[in-house]
């Protein structure tokens, strides 16, 4: 995925400092909104679909009040299914969490549909790579010839 226009990005974390850090890392790459919990994220996500301006990427914490990241990710996928968003317009989920156990990682990827998982504290190089792998930054694979 490469974005012809600045993509809409949604940051979801109950920690204001974590949201601030992500906003700083992402400010040059897209139009950013924020939510403090999973419930707010799902509401913003549905509104964005209804406005025909869906979010391209959701950066989602797991441990949050009201609705955690696991539940929010599953609801976001159900919203995209119910609105029948085509593959190229479906938002990608990036989990960013201090939970590091294999169970949490597996749940995020295989039950919640997270494409990427970045454990906190965020490794800035891994985050930059994630932006390339999500199509926000140029991906070297696009221009790198394969060995014969």
């Amino acid at each position: 995925m490469n974005f012809p226009q600045r993509p809409r990005l949604l940051i979801v974390d109950d920690s204001s400092s974590a949201r601030s850090l992500l906003r700083d890392l992402l400010k040059d790459y897209g139009l950013i909104d924020e939510a403090e919990d999973g419930r707010g994220a799902v509401e913003l996500f549905e509104r964005a679909i209804q406005e025909n301006k869906p979010y391209a990427i959701v950066f989602l914490d797991i441990l949050m009040p009201n609705m955690d990241g696991h539940e929010a990710a599953r609801r976001i996928h159900r919203l995209m299914d119910s609105y029948e968003l085509p593959e190229e317009r479906r938002g990608k989920i990036v989990m960013i969490s201090s939970l590091h156990s294999p169970d949490q990682l597996m749940k995020a990827h295989f039950e919640d549909g997270a494409l990427l998982y970045l454990p906190k504290p965020i490794d800035t190089q891994a985050f930059t790579e994630a932006l390339a792998n999500l199509g926000i930054l140029p991906n070297p694979i696009d221009e790198f010839g394969y060995p014969a």
């Binding site: 593959e87 590091h100 156990s101 294999p102 990682l105 597996m106 990827h109 295989f110 549909g113 997270a114 494409l115 990427l116 998982y117 970045l118 454990p119 490794d123 190089q125 891994a126 790579e129 994630a130 390339a132 792998n133 140029p138 991906n139 070297p140 694979i141 696009d142 221009e143 790198f144 010839g145 394969y146 060995p147």
Partner: protein, 170 residues
């Protein structure tokens, strides 16, 4: 093709990592592979400029009892073997950064289980060894093309959207 990586690292070597292959790289190498339900783990030690990567097909060696096959055919033995080689080279477990990729869901039930189980065994084996995972890019319906820069630890991934893995072996 002239590109940014070759401009950054003009002497970089290139290597295509095959199924059931695992290697350490002491000199700067651009390691390519293509993954479906298979799993790759990359290892990087910044202090020594060392990188390592494998491409494994199946989750646990003990479940298959195959003889005379590469230790890198299975995720569990691939992780332990490659980590052992890095530790012999002087890498401390606190300074290694690991990234996991692959494990796509396939269309048939048994193959679906294989990609998911490959990822699970990678996460579990790395956790048992106390090795730090700084990023994972696993699951989903589609295969992946991957590029690992051994000397920087960077991993770039492109999803192969039109090619769901129909059988194990990538």
């Amino acid at each position: 093709m002239i590109n940014r990586i070759l401009q950054r690292f003009p002497d970089i070597r290139q290597h295509f990592l095959l199924i059931a292959e695992g290697r350490t790289f002491a000199s700067p190498t651009a390691v390519h592979t293509v993954l479906g339900s298979c799993v790759s783990v990359t290892f990087h030690c910044q202090r020594l400029g060392l990188g390592a990567m494998f491409h494994a097909l199946l989750p646990r060696a003990a479940d298959y009892r195959e003889k005379n096959v590469s230790t890198y055919r299975y995720v569990d033995t691939a992780v332990t073997s490659l980590w052992h080689r890095l530790s012999v080279l002087g890498v401390d477990r606190n300074e290694v950064q690991c990234k996991i990729l692959g494990g796509a869901n396939a269309l048939m039930n048994d193959e679906y289980a294989c990609g998911q189980k490959n990822a699970l065994v990678a996460f579990e084996t790395l956790a048992e060894l106390g090795l730090r995972v700084v990023a994972s890019n696993v699951g989903g319906r589609f295969g992946r093309k991957a590029l690992f820069l051994s000397h920087t630890g960077e991993v770039f991934v492109k999803t192969l959207n039109q090619q769901p893995p129909r059988k194990p072996g990538l």
